[in-house]
């Protein structure tokens, strides 16, 4: 009897001792758990689909094993070149391990880069890039505070779609612009109007209560089935005609904005409020282009992260995208509000200020970055000045030139005027380049000038042409003594380029060029007819 109870009490005492000791350890463990984010955050966040919450609870420890098996399978299939299962497998892996952002980043990158590249047709490639983006968007929803996913998503936009390294990049840009144009309804939507329109169905119903004429019209149209109406909206790119006729213009526009922003959110996971914020922070961006989205996501990422370590890559991404936007962040279309494969990307001068500010912030905050960034900033300023100059913003160019003189104290800027400076920038290339390079550059300038005429920007066209003329003259002066093949006459170059454009570009562009350069073209034809023989002689002599 006694023995039995003795054992029991000994065990009891031991248990109590252990429990007591645990108190000291518990706090430390809890701190570690919080610090390393070992426990999943609650799934009360909106946007997390119930299936994910369910699977993480129900499968328990097995989801890790299952995810591993699926991962191995995906890798194996990819090795063999069988991609058709990849979308489904990636989806499952993300649902099983929603917090494993590195895996999601890899899978998104994999689809957008590796798999897309293995397809021949541009449609297929675009599809895979889009899948990568969609996966990352889902990952962002599940990991709103993780910088890695924002980075990857932004990178796909900036590097894959934005840059020119992929052979199909023009196709990507065109398709993306097309899809977005259809969604927006026009090239530059009224973001303010979008931002104030109702964001959810409840808000819409509040705006249009049951007795509101707009709501009554909707009821009459299809008994208030908003989902179906949304489907029709997506199909047509706008409100159905019958319904639109019944609504007052202001109500129609509110409804229109409601559907469009819902559509944007669904397909691209983007909010008009944030777009406005981005526009305000960085300048008016062209939201048909991928760089804008890269900036968007990096910006959202900055909001959700803290600390230098997490934010640095995002800041850099914004800077790179801003520079890219500066260089070619505005889309010119032959016909406004209609995307065609003959789109032209020209510099977006609206972001210059934001970019400058960013450079300055980096230079002042990070001591290690100061000198390398200073050099970058100087180059950027020079580029900005030249661009502004040739795109008919001479005043702005002049202001920047002042800054270049006084703050950066660039050597050339201290002695030259703005005009000289710009020409000098071009001439550097001329001095070092050979004939072929110069010809290319000149043709480039002339082409840009003509094309700008085609796209309707005559001032910029004139500025480009003026610069081209000066470069041409400068070259002629420097090499007139040499007995080498010379450039054809300037007007001939111009006419030739214009004619080439007219032949290959759609009528809207061609017509504008033709109208503008009618005279020149006729003259050139005449000259060509006359100088047909002499031109050949010249060439023969030159050789």
């Amino acid at each position: 009897m006694k023995n039995r109870y003795a054992l029991f009490f000994a065990l009891l005492a031991g248990t109590l001792l252990v429990l007591f000791a645990n108190v000291f350890v518990q706090n430390r463990m809890a701190a570690i758990v919080k610090e390393d984010k070992l426990v999943d955050e609650s799934f009360a966040a909106e946007g997390t689909p119930p299936i994910v919450a369910f699977s993480t609870m129900a499968l328990g420890g097995f989801r890790g094993i299952i995810a591993d098996i699926l991962w191995l399978r995906a890798g194996e299939l990819q090795q063999k070149g069988k991609y058709y299962e990849l979308v489904q497998l990636s989806d499952w892996i993300l649902k099983l391990q929603p917090k494993f952002s590195a895996a999601a980043s890899y899978m998104g990158w994999n689809m957008a880069y590796n798999v897309s590249v293995a397809c021949k047709r541009p449609e297929d490639r675009w599809r895979w890039v889009r899948r990568g983006i969609q996966l990352m968007q889902e990952a962002v929803t599940m990991n709103p505070n993780d910088p890695a996913v924002y980075q990857e998503l932004g990178w796909i936009y900036q590097h894959k779609l934005g840059n020119v390294l992929d052979d199909a990049q023009r196709y990507y840009k065109e398709t993306m612009a097309r899809d977005l144009m259809f969604l927006y309804g026009k090239h530059y939507p009224d973001w303010e109007a979008w931002a104030v329109s109702p964001a959810t169905e409840e808000a819409l119903r509040e705006r249009f209560p049951a007795d509101h004429p707009a709501w009554l019209a909707i009821m009459e149209y299809n008994q208030g089935d908003l989902e179906r109406l949304f489907g029709e909206f997506r199909l047509n790119g706008g409100l159905p005609k019958e319904l639109k006729e019944k609504l007052k213009p202001e109500d129609a526009s509110v409804l229109d904005c409601y559907f469009r922003r819902k559509w944007l959110k669904k397909d691209w996971n983007v909010d008009p409020e944030t777009i406005l914020a981005v526009n305000r922070t960085y300048g008016e961006l062209d939201w048909l282009l991928p760089e804008s989205f890269a900036i968007y996501w990096a910006h959202v990422g900055l909001d959700h992260t803290e600390g230098d370590r997490e934010q640095l890559p995002l800041t850099r991404m914004i800077l790179q995208s801003l520079v890219a936007t500066f260089n070619y962040g505005r889309m010119l279309l032959p016909k406004e509000n209609e995307v065609s494969s003959f789109f032209l990307l020209v510099p977006n001068t609206g972001v210059i200020d934001a970019t400058r500010k960013m450079y300055k912030d980096i230079m002042s905050s990070d001591e290690y970055a100061h000198s390398p960034f200073e050099a970058l900033y100087e180059n950027f300023l020079i580029d900005s000045i030249v661009t502004l100059y040739t795109y008919s913003q001479k005043e702005a160019a002049s202001n920047l030139y002042q800054e270049l003189r006084t703050e950066i104290k660039n050597a050339n800027s201290l002695v030259m005027t703005l005009d000289q400076f710009v020409l000098n920038e071009w001439e550097d290339d001329i001095k070092s380049g050979d004939f072929k390079q110069i010809a290319n550059e000149l043709e480039g300038l002339i082409f840009t000038s003509c094309i700008l005429i085609g796209y309707g920007d005559r001032e910029a066209a004139a500025d480009h042409l003026a610069l081209a003329r000066r470069v041409y003259d400068s070259y002629a002066r420097q090499h007139e003594d040499l007995d080498r093949v010379t450039l054809p006459p300037f007007s001939e170059m111009k006419a030739r380029t214009a004619r080439a454009i007219i032949e290959n570009y759609p009528p809207e562009i061609a017509n504008r060029i033709r109208a503008e350069l009618e005279e020149d073209l006729q003259k050139q034809e005449q000259a060509a007819a006359d100088a047909g023989g002499s031109g050949a002689d010249k060439e023969a002599a030159g050789q």
Binding site: E76, Y83, Y84, V87, Q88, D166
Partner: protein, 477 residues
């Protein structure tokens, strides 16, 4: 014979009455119809067909395997455990016949189910295909690449061992000649390491072609009875330099096909003349899988079951073009239709069911129900994992793997020699890719898995069944 048939019939009836069996049947049918709506394809009709085939048949196969294990174990074990078997073995029936009868019953039921499921899947697929709208291109791709059965022919791989050995010998001889340090000769260890290094280098650089250079591949074992209607495809993937994926490029080059034709010669007989015919130079997209049709007549191209294909690198911008091993070039010849291939895939699955049931019956003949099921499940799991281990760890002989990798590989290898992995019977990957499941392949699978590895287990189980004291396990005690 009558006794055998009676036991088969009884097993079938008993099986159909089992609740679990009915549940699995419903699951089977549901999965066929619901799967297509829950799976995400890659967006193309081709991808959707592929994923449908892969997953629906895969799911069917998996469920049928589980079901047959469950049923076989249940049938064989429960009779012994409830002493029902006493009534049977006191009759003039051999115990082996009893076991065989139960096995046959279970197998018959599952083969019937397999047939039903196969027909349903096929019908469903046909229906969806006929009602789907696709572009001409998409339909052509589907027909050429998925709804077909093309045999894949790989080029003859050079004997890297011999080449490496030759190179090693050459280096040693040259070192001797120049009076250099002959450490290579000194011990086997360094020689072996050097050999492996050379071999690795050879393998990796095998597919590299420099600008202006060309590389030829030999194909052997091609069918000799090709007509001009049979189309031969050449599938290849080119990479720039050695890296898998680079920024996209177009490179220039062209393919060269060796043509052999006979010409009457002076002696009144015929001589065989070889000629090389080149396709025009073109831009080829790197890293993308390309398929072109062989432009010359089959009778010229394939001679005595052999063919030769070469590639000439005419690209000035890149340094080397690379044909990764395992990515081509391959010759694909359509040797059967999709329906035939589909039937073959089902046949392989049937062999799988036969094997799995064999295992389960044998195990259940010796052990109680829960242990029998556990044992069968453990067997299948080990087989599956062994397969993964072997396929995911690089070949130990060619490359150096770390210690755990080596161990895992060796273990997996050993297990695969003893155990049948279930993956062997799931050939839906081939089916979905339009690859031929050849009869020799099926025959080999049958011999290797069913006869060589499962049958001994069954015979052992049957022997134990015959010799055990059945009354020992009676629950009455």
């Amino acid at each position: 014979m009558t006794a055998f048939l009676a036991i088969v019939k009884l097993t079938c009836r008993s099986a159909v009455r089992s609740h679990i069996f009915r549940l699995l049947l419903i699951l089977l049918l549901l999965s066929i119809f619901l799967l297509p709506f829950t799976l995400l394809g890659d967006g193309t009709p081709k991808g959707e067909v592929q994923i449908f085939l892969q997953y629906s048949l895969g799911f069917v196969g998996f469920i049928l395997c589980l079901s047959s294990v469950w049923l076989a174990c249940s049938e064989v074990s429960s009779d012994v455990e409830t002493a029902q078997i006493h009534m049977i073995v006191v009759k003039p029936v051999r115990r082996a016949v009893v076991l065989l009868g139960k096995y046959t019953g279970v197998v018959l039921i599952h083969l019937a189910l397999l047939l039903i499921a196969a027909v349903t899947v096929y019908a469903f697929l046909s229906f969806r295909l006929s009602s789907a709208d696709m572009t001409e291109d998409e339909r052509l791709m589907l027909d050429e690449q998925v709804l077909t059965a093309r045999a894949l022919y790989k080029p003859v791989r050079p004997d890297f061992n011999a080449l490496a050995q030759a190179e090693l010998d050459r280096r040693i001889a040259s070192a001797k000649e120049h009076g250099q340090d002959t450490f290579l000769l000194q011990n086997d260890q360094t020689r072996r390491e050097e050999f492996l290094e050379i071999r690795k280098e050879l393998i990796v650089t095998y597919g590299l072609i420099e600008e202006g250079d060309s590389l030829f591949w030999q194909f052997e074992g091609l069918p000799k009875d090709l007509t001009e209607d049979d189309v031969i495809f050449l599938r290849y993937t080119i990479y720039v330099n050695r890296f898998y994926v680079q920024d996209q490029n177009s490179v220039r080059g062209h393919w060269i096909f060796a043509a052999n034709y006979t010409r009457p010669d002076d002696n009144g007989g015929e001589t065989v003349v070889s000629d090389l015919i080149a396709t025009p130079e073109e831009d080829i997209l790197t890293a993308a899988q390309n398929e072109i049709t062989v432009p010359i007549r089959n009778s010229y191209f394939v001679y005595d079951g052999k063919a030769q294909v070469g590639f000439l690198n005419k690209d000035t911008n890149t340094s080397e073009l690379n044909f990764e091993e395992g990515r081509g070039p391959f010759l694909l010849i359509r040797e059967a239709g999709f329906f035939s291939n589909y039937c073959r895939a089902i046949l392989v699955m049937a062999v799988g069911i036969l094997s799995v049931t064999l295992l389960a019956s044998a195990v259940a003949a010796c052990l109680s129900l829960p242990i029998a099921i556990f044992f069968s499940a453990a067997y299948m799991l080990t087989g599956g994992l062994a397969n993964y281990l072997v396929s995911s760890i690089p070949d130990v002989a060619d490359f150096q793997a770390e210690y755990t990798g080596t161990f895992g590989y060796r273990f997996g290898d050993l297990m695969l020699n003893l155990i049948v992995p279930l993956q062997d019977f799931f050939v839906t990957g081939h089916l979905a890719n339009g690859e031929l499941i050849s009869f020799p392949f099926i025959g080999l699978l049958f011999a290797k898995d069913f006869i060589l590895r499962m049958l001994p287990v069954f015979l052992l189980g049957a022997w134990i069944y015959t010799r055990r004291e059945l009354a020992l396990v009676s629950k009455r005690g």
